[in-house]
Assembly symmetry: C2
Homo-oligomer: 215 residues x 2
């Protein structure tokens, strides 16, 4: 398998965690989102993934895009350990936590959105930070309410083993920390993600440990 | 089943299509996103869904959030007709099209994001239209490249029956039309979604036919 990835991309980070949890070896192909006007937009990379975003996973003839679709694929092809529970209601819960991060928080704070705000609306660095923090606070705020009241939360978002929910949550927490956003108001999110960061697979996937990591 | 929905919400629209395709009857509970400062933010609705967004589906004791998680749940509980293919590689393809709409286009053009841009950055209506159109053009542009080259595309995004991909695509096309965004550059997207709009289930789910529809 070959993973096209950028060390700081949280969508790439999610797939790296899934691959590590399933102990699937892969070749790391770095795509630098800031160099050369964005290597993800190069014609060469666009031939692999026309969307011009990371990650892309190649597995033999399969070329897969969109982190959540890739992780569900990995879970279906390599079911051990499972990243989703068996019961439809529980699966919907796990997916809803993952999607809350992937649809409500992450896209709005994506690099290309921040670039558009700066270029077209001329926002200041201070306004950019406020924007970034706002969407994390909105998303983590309501997620904390859900998780705190949720009987299925234990060591992780669902029970005592990591699932797709934790795979999406931990990289978003990593992003929040990178931007010095305090997590004091989100004790359940903090506890769950700390438990995740304690696992080898999550540590292995961390941005700082990737071949293209920068200081 | 009870669906908390807003007629113009495209996430609600997706779930309405899935329910209609599976011929599952449901009670429609209107949540007006603009009235009363946003009924989705009321304490009463927040007790149902702490995220303060639509849709929410109640099915007996199950309270389900996030449109894609809801649709996968419906597909697992009521498998006929299937909304995903059987093969993992094909499933990943269908999900990736759905997620490209749900993660790359829709969140950035969401009502609350537009409200933030206006309130905090003071953007004009013209700038708001440009923003809206930009993210549809970026998303549809690369999606058109993928779909045009994709051998699995036939009448719909995957073969000759609608899947999760078309369920996400059609409401986004409906949004684009509402904002007078031309689809000439996206002939495959246009063809597929026109085929979808021809189906009873898609027609039934259209915003204009909902109990809370406005002109």
């Amino acid at each position: 398998m070959k993973l096209y990835s950028y060390f700081r991309s949280s969508a790439s980070y999610r797939v790296r965690i899934a691959l590590a949890l399933k102990e699937l070896p892969f070749q790391y192909e770095a795509v630098h989102l800031l160099k050369d006007g964005g290597q993800q937009l190069s014609p060469a990379y666009r031939r692999v993934n026309p969307d011009g975003i990371v990650p892309t996973l190649e597995n033999g003839p399969d070329v897969l895009t969109q982190s959540l679709a890739i992780i569900e694929y990995l879970d279906e092809k390599y079911p051990d350990p499972p990243l989703l529970p068996g019961d439809p209601t529980d699966r919907a819960y796990v997916r809803s936590v993952a999607l809350q991060v992937a649809c409500e928080i992450h896209p709005v704070n994506n690099l290309r959105v921040l670039q558009y705000l700066k270029k077209n609306f001329g926002i200041s660095d201070e306004q950019k930070s406020q924007w970034y923090r706002h969407w994390i606070d909105v998303g983590f705020g309501s997620l904390e309410v859900r998780l705190k009241a949720e009987r299925r939360v234990r060591k992780f978002a669902f029970g005592d083993a990591p699932t797709l929910a934790d795979i999406c949550l931990a990289p978003q927490v990593w992003n929040a920390r990178r931007f010095d956003i305090p997590l004091d108001n989100y004790p359940t999110i903090k506890r769950i993600s700390d438990n995740a960061f304690d696992l080898d697979a999550f540590r292995q996937a961390e941005p700082s440990g990737q071949p293209d990591a920068e200081g």
